[in-house]
């Protein structure tokens, strides 16, 4: 899958591979030994956050699950 930042797709793929392995083999099995993908995530983030600014994608200040607050049963 491509990243929204055209130059970030490689970094995204590397990070995804690391994450998917950790998620299946450690996180879901209750292993709390910590995230081995932090460096890769940082590199990927630097790239994608830059692309987001350049494309003016309106994610600034959007609260986590913001619109869910006003929904019944949340």
């Amino acid at each position: 899958m491509n990243s929204v930042g055209e130059g970030c797709t490689e970094l995204k793929r590397e990070y995804d591979q690391c994450f998917n392995r950790w998620f299946a083999e450690k996180f879901l099995k209750g292993d709390r030994s910590g995230d081995p993908c932090i460096e890769m995530f940082k590199n990927y983030q630097q790239c994608v956050q830059k692309a987001i600014k350049e494309k003016d994608i309106p994610i600034e200040g959007v609260e986590f699950m913001g619109p869910n607050k006003e929904k019944p049963g949340s």
Binding site: S3, F19, N20, F27, L28, F41, I57, P67, K71, G73
Partner: protein, 214 residues
């Protein structure tokens, strides 16, 4: 005015396989409208839950009849945010998804809770709720009908995409029963979407007539 949708789906795979598939479901043969996917934020909380924010860009698939009512320079792709919480202790995955572009025309918000199926604990159920609304004068009902029909048709693609990836992960082909059931569901959804599209066209032309007399 808001259209509300509530549905329940079942995947014949265990919760952990579904949660793994959740992060790997793009691309799949049913996701041609999804153009990009990015994780913008991710963190493990002190109580060991994984929170993430995923940004998607999708093609803006509006029907031809809306073109004369909407600006000609309207962006062809839409931005969608999906926030999620994975809780391995309770074996649940909760998502909240909404569009952060084109919201003046139509806002679609969806909340899903994935969990172990209570009748068969090697299966996973998805409780899905959605709120679809549109503010445009005169057109809101028409757009909402269209939005709801498109949303329902998206669910079929989502489920097929999941089944595809799960089968791939498990080294087999999707079970015949699921494929047959899915085909019935697709046919039914197509009928519903077509009916809604016709109804929406009708409402839109009524709205246009009303405007002429104002």
């Amino acid at each position: 005015m808001v259209k509300y949708f509530l549905g329940l789906s079942v995947l014949k795979s265990s919760w952990d396989q579904v949660f793994v598939a959740f992060w790997q479901r793009y691309p799949n043969p049913y996701s041609k409208h999804v153009l990009t996917e990015d994780i913008l934020f991710r963190e493990v909380t002190p109580d060991n839950r994984l929170i993430s924010r995923r940004l998607l860009t999708k093609t803006n698939r509006a029907p031809r009849w809306t073109e004369k009512y909407l600006p000609s320079n309207m962006a062809r792709s839409a931005y969608i945010i999906e926030d999620s919480i994975v809780d391995p202790q309770s074996r649940t995955l909760t998502t909240f998804t909404w569009n952060i572009s084109h919201a003046r025309y139509m806002a679609v918000e969806e909340r899903c809770v994935y969990g172990v199926n209570p009748d068969n604990n090697s299966w996973t159920e998805i409780k899905r709720e959605a709120w679809i609304s549109s503010n445009l004068f005169g057109l809101s009902r028409a757009l909402q009908e269209f939005g709801l029909a498109r949303f329902k048709s998206s669910i079929t693609k989502t489920m097929k995409g999941f089944q595809f990836i799960l089968a791939k992960m498990q080294g087999g082909t999707p079970s015949r029963t699921l494929v047959e059931t899915a085909k019935e569901a697709t046919d039914k959804v197509k009928e519903t979407a077509l009916a809604a599209s016709e109804k929406a066209k009708d409402l839109a032309s009524q709205a246009q007539k009303k405007q002429q007399y104002v």
